[in-house]
Amino acid sequence: MNSKILVAGLIGSVASLLLGYLFYGTLLAGMLAEASMPGTQRAMTEIQWPFLILSNLASGYFISYLFSKWANITTFSNGLNAGATIGLFVGCIYNFTYYAVTNMMTLKGHLIDIVTTIVITGIVGGLVGWWLGRGK
């Protein structure tokens, strides 16, 4: 794994963390709290930040690995499209499965999460693609 892929993964991770904070921590916080079963979501003061950072690192490097090793994506627009596609798949997989086996959120909450995942992963994909194509 070369330094370009490492930096691309890091950029994707930071973007994912910031966008996650913007969407889930501020813009959609009230709506998602209403849609969630009481007691299942941690309060802002109880968030386990090291695990949240690890989660975003895994997401960023997942996109970076896919784009560099397999998809050969090197532009913002191609990254945006591919990222949104991956976001659609991943959002549906986890939200449908969690809706099927838990009562943690209403169907409306899960649908909002799928759309949010598509938007965030699309932007992250765009940034990762842009970085991978820099200097070519």
Partner: protein, 150 residues
């Protein structure tokens, strides 16, 4: 013009064949994940899964929705293997599937532990990441094998 039409025709045929191969491969991967998930989460680890307050009771599980989630997982593997990775062997698919399963599960389990009260600490994360990696490796192997079939 004739040659152009011929190339277009064969290109279209190839695309159709690739799409149907990807779809069938994805469904096969989804069925594999569904059966493995039933065996591992529904039978072997059934007791440890039942402790959470927000888990649905066994007779309240939405099985069709679980199946849809698994088919979409299989289609994700089929999409990546056919469109991007050109994977067409069981072993290549198993390795690709393991990488995808590892990164997706690590990301999602850490997210769930970081923001909800549903995951049972590091032990819960590690067990689920290992299980997901194994499940996706086997499903990836099946999808990869199907992609390489003539």
């Amino acid at each position: 013009l004739y040659n152009f039409k011929g190339i277009y025709f064969f290109s279209l045929q190839k695309t159709k064949r690739m799409n149907s191969k990807m779809l069938i491969g994805g469904v096969l991967g989804g069925i594999t994940l569904f059966l493995l998930g039933w065996l591992i989460y529904g039978v072997i680890f059934a007791d440890s899964m039942a402790g959470q307050a927000c888990m649905r009771a066994k007779d309240d599980l939405n099985i069709p929705m679980i199946a849809v989630g698994n088919i979409i997982s299989g289609l994700l593997l089929g999409y990546i293997f056919s469109k991007w990775a050109s994977i067409s062997t069981f072993m290549g698919g198993a390795i690709g599937g393991a990488v995808i399963g590892l990164l997706m599960a690590a990301g999602f389990d850490c997210l769930m532990y970081g923001t909800t009260t549903m995951v049972d600490g590091m032990k819960g994360i590690l067990i689920d990441v290992v299980i997901s990696t194994i499940m996706y490796a086997i499903a990836g192997g099946v999808v990869g094998w199907w992609m390489g079939r003539k």
